[in-house]
C-alpha cells in the first residue's frame, strides 16, 4: 500500500536522472585510460580516506573513498599526479599514460619540526571545493586534544560542539541534529548500526578513541547510499591495524583504562587491531560501600572490546571482519540490570576493473538489556529481557565513469527482530511469563547517484534512493478506530488478529530524492545547496527527557507510519588567509517532518502490549542558521560555532493542537574550541559551551485529592517553561614525552626489544566545568518533605509543601588525569 502523502511524479524524477546520466556519456574523441589504485599510510599501512588525487595538466581531481581506493580516467598523454593530504608529504609522480595503470601509493607523514600542528587531514581547500555540505569531519587528533570529562576523550561529546548539533543536557545519551530527535541519528560503527551509543547512562560513548580512525557526521545533503534515519548519519570507521609492525597503545584514567594492540597478520597483506576498556569505579568505591549494608553486592562497571582484521587476497580483493562487544552492568544484591551492544561486520572489497569498485557489507547488530530483581519474601523474583537484532546485506558499487562523473549504486536489505520484552515473575514458586510478542520487519533500499562536474565551477551530485519497509508476521495486528483521536489511550476496535509467519501486516514504499549543488564563486569561496528526503521506519519509544537504556525501538506498523523528512539547505563557504588558514561557513536549513511520534499524557511505555494505543502522530518542523569559523593550522587552532534554530511539533490532542517546542529545542547554541601549542611538548586547550535553556512541562496550579496534592496546568500547553541557560568551560593541559630520534633502521625488529625505542607517553590534566557552574538539566515540581528518605516516618508525611527544584548533573568542578602511552 502506498501512503497518500508520497505522490511525487516518479516518471519525471526518473527521466530527469536518466537524461543527466546520458549527458555524462559524450563521444570519445581520443583513447582514454584509467589510473587506479589504493592509497595507504607508509607508517602503518592504514587506508587513507578522503585524500585528493589531482592531475596537474588537466586540473582533474578525485578523492580516495572509504577504503582508500581511487580511479581517474584521462585521455592518452603525459601527466603529473599529485597526492595531497594534510599532515603528509605531497606525493608526485609523472606518468606516461598509454594504457590502464595500477598505482598503489604510500604516503609518508610529514615530520613536523616546527611546533605547528595540523588537525585536519582534509584537502586544504575542501571546505570550498568539496561538493559536500552540512557535513562535519572530526579528526581523532582534534578530538583527542579537547578537554574531556574526567580526562577521557569521547567521540559523541566532541560532536556536540559542532554547529547544528545539541543535546538535551550534559550526561544525556545521544545528540540532536538540526532539531531532530535522538533516534533520528543513524550511528554506524564500521557500517553496523549501534542502537545505544552510551556507557554509564550517557557519560561516555561506546567508541574507544584509540581504535577509531575517522568520524564523519552528515547533517544534511546525505548521499543516496545512506538512509533509514531522518536527521543524520554518524559514520564511525575503525582503524584497520598496523600492517607493518606490532604496536600497542593505551591509557590509564580515573574512570577506566584502555589498551589497544595491533599488528600485521602478514606483512603488507593483512592486519588486525584489538582494543578493550574496563571501568573500575566499583573497585575504587568498594571500601566506601563495604560500610553500607544497603549496598551489599553493589556492581557498577562497563567494558567493551573492539576488534578488526583485514586481509588482501590477491590484488583485487580485500576482506574485513570487525566486531564490537560492550556491556554496562549495575546493581545491588537484590536488583540489577545490564545492557549492551554487539555488532559484527564483514566486508569484501573487490576491484572489478580500473573503474568499477565494489564493497559488500554484511552485518549483525544486537542491542539488549536485562533487568532483574528479587524484592519479595519467599524467593520471588522477576526478570525482564528485551532486545533488537538486525541482519543486513549491503552491496555498494562505485563506477568511475570518467573524470567528470562518478556513479554510485547499490542496495541494502535489513531484517529486524524486535523483542520488546519478556517478563518472568516467580511468585511463591509459581512462574508467570509475560511476553510481548516479537515483531519482525524487512527494510530494503536501492539507490543510484552520480557526482558530475557540469562545468569546471559547477558540480552536482544527484541521486535517488528507493526505500521499502515490510512489517511482517508472525505477529499481532491491532486495528484502531479512525483518526482523529484526542489525547487519550485508544484500544483496538476488534480482537487483535494473529498474523502468520512472513505474511505482510503493513508495507510502505518511499522514494527519496537527493540533490547537492556546488558553485565555485572564486578560488576561495563557493555556494552550495542541497535537498534531501529521508524516511525512517523504526522509532525509539521514549517519553522521558533523557533517553534511558530501557527505551525500546518499534517498527512502523499498520498504525505507526514511517517518519518522513524533507530538508533544504543553502550555504556559503569561504576560506581566508595565505594558506587557507581560516575556513568559514554559513548554512541555512529548513526541515519539514511528517508522522512524528508523541504520546498521550502519562503514557506508560514499558511492557505495554497496547503500545500503539498510547502513541499520537503529528508533524514537525525545524529551521535555523549555522555559522562556523575554523582554524586548522598553526600554534593556535580550533573553531567557533554558533547555531540559531527552532525545533517544534504539532500533534492533535497535545498542547491545544498548537505548535509547541521540542524538549531539546535550544534557540542559541555557541561553542568555542581552542588549543594552543605552548612548546613541542606542552599544549593547552579549552572549550566553552553556551546554550539557551530547553523547555520543560511545568504545572502552575494544583489541587488536593485523597490526601495528596496534585499539580495541574490549566493552559494545557506542552513544554511551557524554559529552564535557565547553560554555560560551561573546560580546560586541559597535555604534556608529551620527548620525541625520540631514531631511524626505523636503528630500531630492533623484535617487538619487546623495540619498546624502549618507541615508548612515548602523554599526561593529560583536565578540568571539566572550570566555573563550577550548576547548569540545569531540568526544573521539576517537588514536595519538600522527601517522602521516601525519612526512615520510619513516611506513613505520616504530607506533601502539601511544594516547590520547584533545579536538577544539575556534573554540578561541580571535575578534575581528571589520564596517562596515555604507545609503543
Amino acid at each position: 500500500m502506498l501512503p497518500s502523502y508520497t505522490k511525487p511524479d516518479y516518471m519525471k524524477i526518473a527521466s530527469f536522472a536518466i537524461s543527466l546520466l546520458l549527458t555524462a556519456h559524450f563521444v570519445l574523441s581520443q583513447p582514454k585510460y584509467t589510473i587506479s589504485g589504493t592509497l595507504k599510510d607508509k607508517k602503518n599501512g592504514e587506508d587513507v580516506i578522503g585524500a585528493t588525487i589531482s592531475v596537474k595538466e588537466t586540473q582533474a581531481a578525485t578523492t580516495t573513498n572509504a577504503y582508500g581506493f581511487f580511479s581517474i580516467t584521462l585521455p592518452e598523454g603525459k601527466y603529473t599526479i599529485n597526492v595531497s593530504y594534510l599532515g603528509y608529504k605531497t606525493y608526485t609522480n609523472e606518468i606516461d599514460l598509454n594504457a590502464n595503470q595500477k598505482l598503489n601509493i604510500e604516503i609518508e607523514e610529514e615530520k613536523i619540526e616546527l611546533t605547528e600542528v595540523e588537525v585536519t587531514s582534509e584537502r586544504p581547500d575542501a571546505n570550498v571545493k568539496s561538493i559536500e555540505m552540512s557535513i562535519n569531519k572530526l579528526e581523532m587528533g582534534q578530538i583527542k586534544k579537547m578537554p574531556a570529562l574526567l580526562g577521557e576523550v569521547d567521540v559523541i561529546r566532541s560532536i556536540q560542539l559542532l554547529p547544528g548539533v545539541s543535546s538535551v543536557g550534559e550526561g544525556s545519551s545521544g545528540f540532536n541534529v538540526r532539531g531532530g530527535s535522538i533516534d533520528h541519528n543513524l550511528v554506524l560503527l564500521d557500517e553496523a548500526p549501534v542502537y545505544n551509543s552510551s556507557h554509564l547512562f550517557g557519560f561516555f560513548s561506546v567508541f574507544n578513541p584509540d581504535a577509531v580512525k575517522d568520524v564523519k557526521l552528515y547533517k544534511g545533503g546525505i548521499p543516496a547510499q545512506y538512509g533509514g534515519r531522518l536527521a543524520s548519519i554518524l559514520d564511525v570507521r575503525m582503524k584497520e591495524g598496523n600492517n607493518k609492525r606490532f604496536a600497542a597503545q593505551g591509557g590509564i584514567g580515573l574512570i577506566f583504562s584502555r589498551l589497544t594492540f595491533e599488528g600485521p597478520i602478514k606483512k603488507n597483506k593483512g592486519s588486525f587491531i584489538v582494543a578493550g576498556r574496563r571501568s573500575y569505579a566499583d573497585v575504587l568505591a568498594a571500601p566506601a560501600l563495604a560500610s553500607n549494608p544497603d549496598l551489599d553486592g553493589f556492581k557498577l562497571y562497563f567494558y567493551d572490546f573492539t576488534m578488526k582484521a583485514n586481509y588482501n587476497i590477491g590484488t583485487k580483493d580485500k576482506i574485513f571482519a570487525s566486531g564490537y562487544l560492550g556491556r554496562d552492568v549495575f546493581g545491588v544484591a537484590s536488583f540489577g540490570f545490564d545492557w549492551g551492544n554487539s555488532t559484527f561486520t564483514t566486508r569484501w572489497n573487490h576491484v572489478f576493473n580500473d573503474r568499477l569498485f565494489m564493497n559488500v557489507t554484511g552485518f549483525y547488530s544486537n542491542y539488549d538489556y536485562a533487568l532483574g530483581a528479587e524484592t519479595n519474601s519467599g524467593g520471588d523474583k522477576f526478570s525482564w529481557k528485551s532486545n533488537i537484532i538486525n541482519y543486513s546485506v549491503k552491496p555498494e558499487l562505485t563506477y568511475f565513469l570518467n573524470s567528470k562523473n562518478t556513479i554510485q549504486f547499490g542496495g541494502q536489505t535489513i531484517l529486524y527482530d524486535f523483542v520488546p520484552g519478556t517478563l518472568e515473575i516467580i511468585n511463591s514458586g509459581n512462574r508467570t511469563t509475560l511476553k510481548l510478542d516479537s515483531k519482525y520487519a524487512l527494510e530494503h533500499a536501492v539507490y543510484i547517484s552520480n557526482e558530475q562536474k557540469i562545468i569546471p565551477r559547477l558540480s552536482m551530485q544527484y541521486g535517488l534512493r528507493l526505500s521499502a519497509f515490510q512489517y511482517i508476521g508472525p505477529g499481532i495486528k491491532r486495528t484502531y478506530g479512525p483518526e482523529p483521536y484526542k489525547n487519550e489511550t485508544r484500544y483496538p476496535v476488534a480482537e487483535p488478529e494473529k498474523v502468520e509467519s512472513l505474511q505482510s501486516i503493513a508495507s510502505y514504499i518511499n522514494p527519496e530524492p537527493r540533490l547537492n549543488l556546488k558553485f565555485e564563486l572564486t578560488e576561495y569561496s563557493s555556494l552550495k545547496a542541497s535537498y534531501m528526503r529521508t524516511s525512517q521506519y523504526i522509532h525509539l519509544i521514549s517519553n522521558t527527557a533523557a533517553s534511558i537504556p530501557l527505551d525500546v525501538f518499534t517498527p512502523s506498523t499498520n498504525n505507526i507510519k514511517p517518519q518522513i523528512s524533507d530538508q533544504v539547505a543553502i550555504g556559503y563557504f569561504r576560506n581566508f588567509g595565505s594558506n587557507t588558514d581560516y575556513e568559514t561557513s554559513v548554512e541555512l536549513f529548513y526541515k519539514d517532518m511528517k508522522n512524528q511520534i508523541d504520546y498521550v499524557d502519562g503514557a506508560d511505555l514499558l511492557l505495554n502490549p497496547n503500545l500503539e494505543g498510547v502513541l499520537l502522530s503529528g508533524k514537525g518542523r525545524a529551521y535555523g542558521a549555522e555559522f562556523m569559523v575554523k582554524k586548522n593550522k598553526g600554534k593556535l587552532n580550533g573553531w567557533i560555532s554558533y547555531t540559531i534554530s527552532r525545533s517544534e511539533r504539532k500533534v492533535d490532542g497535545i498542547s491545544n493542537d498548537a505548535w509547541y517546542p521540542n524538549r531539546f529545542d535550544r534557540t542559541h547554541n555557541l561553542n568555542i574550541v581552542v588549543s594552543y601549542q605552548l612548546s613541542k611538548r606542552v599544549s593547552v586547550s579549552s572549550n566553552a559551551q553556551y546554550g539557551t535553556g530547553t523547555p520543560v512541562n511545568l504545572y502552575n496550579m494544583g489541587y488536593a485529592y485523597a490526601g495528596q496534592y496534585v499539580g495541574h496546568n490549566p493552559t494545557n500547553a506542552r513544554n511551557n517553561i524554559r529552564i535557565p541557560e547553560y554555560f560551561r568551560i573546560d580546560a586541559s593541559v597535555s604534556i608529551k614525552s620527548k620525541r625520540k630520534k631514531y631511524d626505523e633502521a636503528e630500531i630492533p625488529a623484535n617487538f619487546f626489544k623495540a619498546i624502549k625505542y618507541r615508548y612515548e607517553w602523554e599526561l593529560v590534566f583536565s578540568v571539566y566545568n572550570v566555573l563550577n557552574a550548576r547548569n540545569p538539566f531540568a526544573i521539576f515540581p517537588r514536595y519538600k518533605e522527601s517522602l521516601s528518605n525519612q526512615v520510619g516516618v513516611n506513613y505520616q508525611a504530607t506533601n502539601l509543601d511544594r516547590e520547584m527544584a533545579k536538577f544539575s548533573l556534573f554540578a561541580t568542578i571535575i578534575p581528571g588525569i589520564t596517562y596515555n602511552f604507545k609503543f
Binding site: A285, F337, A778, R782, V791, G792, A805
Partner: protein, 357 residues
C-alpha cells in the same frame, strides 16, 4: 520503577556529581477551577448501604507554596441521582463538605452527581458500584529472611503480613488498597518500649491514632489482582488469582521506604487496617496517573532526567456547557471490604540490632 530511580539516584550521588537545588520561578497564576473529591462507599458485607458519604468541593490554587488550608466552595448546590430513581440533595456541612445521608447504594447501581457552583456553572459526573474481591482476613507470619537468595544478615527476620483473599475470575476488576497504620509507644505485652529502633524518636507519640498511609509510593492499585502501577491488560483474564506479592509487599511490608531496606516493617503492638475498595476501571486509571505524577515529584533529581513529563490527570467532572470552565477531580464509587490485624509475634525482636540509617 521506583527501585530503578533509587539505584540511579544512588549512583549519581556516589559520584557526587549531581545536585538538586530549590529553584524559584514566578509562574503565572491561572483562574481557580472546581475540584471534586467524592467516593460513594458501599460495604460489601451488606446487601445495601445508605448514606454516610461526603462530597468535597475545593478550588485549584497555585502549585508552589505550602497552603495547608484549601480554598473550599461552600455555596454550591450538590445532588446525586441513582438509576434506581432516587435523587438526594446533599446537606452542606461547611468547609466545602456536602453530606449524603439517604442515598441507597448497591452493586450495579449507577449514580450521577450534579454540582451547581455559585458562579453559575453546572457540572455532572457519573459512576457505578462494581463487585468486591474475596477478602477474608489479614494474616501474619515470621519469615527468617525476606529473601533466601540474599546474603544472610542483610534482610532481617521479621513479621510479614499477607492478605487471605483473591481476585475473582473475570477481567477488569479494579482495586484500591488503602492502608491505615497505628504504632504504639510501648509494647502492649511487656510494657517496655517496643524496640531500640525507636530510641530518640520524639515523634512516636504522634502516631497513636490511626494514620492513613499517604506516601504516594504506597498508593495501592491493582487490576485483577496484580499491581496496576504499570500496564497490565494482558493478565486480565484471571481465575481466582491471589493478590500479587509485589503489590502486597509494597503496600503492606515495606513501610520504611525502598524495597532494599534492611529494616523489618513491623514491631510488636503495631496495628494495620487494610481496606480493599473495588472501583471502576477509569477511576483506577485516574489513581494510576496520580501515583505517577506524585512519584515524579519524589524521585529526587533524576525525576528530571528519567521521568515522564508532568501532565494533567484525567477527570470525570464535566461542565454541562462544553465552553464553560473546566473542572478537575473524580467522582467515584467504591465497594469495600476491610480487616485489621495487630502484630503479636515479638520473640525475635530481642536479637534485633539498631538499624543503620
Amino acid at each position: 520503577m521506583k527501585i530503578y530511580y533509587h539505584t540511579l539516584l544512588f549512583i549519581l550521588s556516589v559520584c557526587m556529581l549531581a545536585c538538586t537545588d530549590p529553584y524559584s520561578i514566578d509562574l503565572e497564576q491561572s483562574d481557580p477551577q472546581l475540584v471534586v473529591e467524592a467516593l460513594l462507599k458501599h460495604d460489601a458485607n451488606l446487601p445495601q448501604t445508605v448514606g454516610r458519604d461526603t462530597v468535597l468541593l475545593t478550588q485549584t490554587q497555585k502549585f508552589i507554596g505550602n497552603d495547608k488550608t484549601l480554598a473550599t466552595i461552600d455555596n454550591a448546590s450538590v445532588s446525586i441521582t441513582s438509576n434506581a430513581g432516587q435523587t438526594e440533595n446533599l446537606t452542606p456541612l461547611g468547609n466545602g463538605r456536602y453530606a449524603s445521608v439517604s442515598l441507597i447504594k448497591k452493586i450495579g447501581y449507577q449514580y450521577t452527581l450534579t454540582v451547581k457552583t455559585p458562579d453559575g456553572e453546572t457540572y455532572n459526573a457519573s459512576t457505578w458500584h462494581t463487585r468486591p474481591c474475596v477478602y477474608d482476613s489479614l494474616t501474619q507470619k515470621i519469615l527468617d529472611k525476606r529473601n533466601p537468595n540474599t546474603p544472610a544478615g542483610v534482610i532481617p527476620k521479621g513479621v510479614y503480613i499477607d492478605i487471605a483473599g483473591y481476585d475473582p475470575a473475570g477481567a477488569g476488576d479494579s482495586y484500591w488498597l488503602r492502608l491505615y497504620f497505628k504504632r504504639v509507644y510501648k509494647n502492649i505485652f511487656t510494657g517496655k518500649k517496643t524496640s531500640p529502633y525507636f530510641k530518640g524518636d520524639s515523634n512516636l507519640t504522634k502516631y497513636d491514632p490511626w494514620h492513613y498511609v499517604r506516601d504516594p509510593n504506597k498508593i495501592g492499585i491493582s487490576l485483577d489482582g496484580i499491581s496496576a502501577d504499570n500496564n497490565t491488560d494482558t493478565l486480565q483474564n484471571s481465575t481466582n488469582r491471589p493478590f500479587a506479592l509485589v503489590l502486597k509487599d509494597l503496600i503492606l511490608n515495606d513501610l520504611d521506604g525502598p524495597a532494599i531496606s534492611d529494616k523489618p516493617a513491623y514491631f510488636p503492638g503495631d496495628s494495620v487496617w487494610l481496606d480493599i475498595v473495588s472501583l471502576t476501571y477509569p477511576h483506577l486509571i485516574f489513581l494510576q496517573r496520580m501515583k505517577k505524577e506524585l512519584e515524579n515529584g519524589t524521585g529526587g533529581g533524576l525525576a528530571g532526567l528519567f521521568s515522564t513529563p508532568p501532565s494533567n490527570l484525567p477527570t470525570n467532572i464535566i461542565n454541562a456547557n462544553s465552553n464553560g470552565k473546566k473542572a478537575v477531580g473524580w467522582f467515584g464509587a467504591g465497594t469495600y471490604k476491610t480487616h485489621k490485624i495487630r502484630i503479636i509475634n515479638f520473640d525475635f525482636i530481642e536479637n534485633q540490632g539498631t538499624p543503620g540509617n
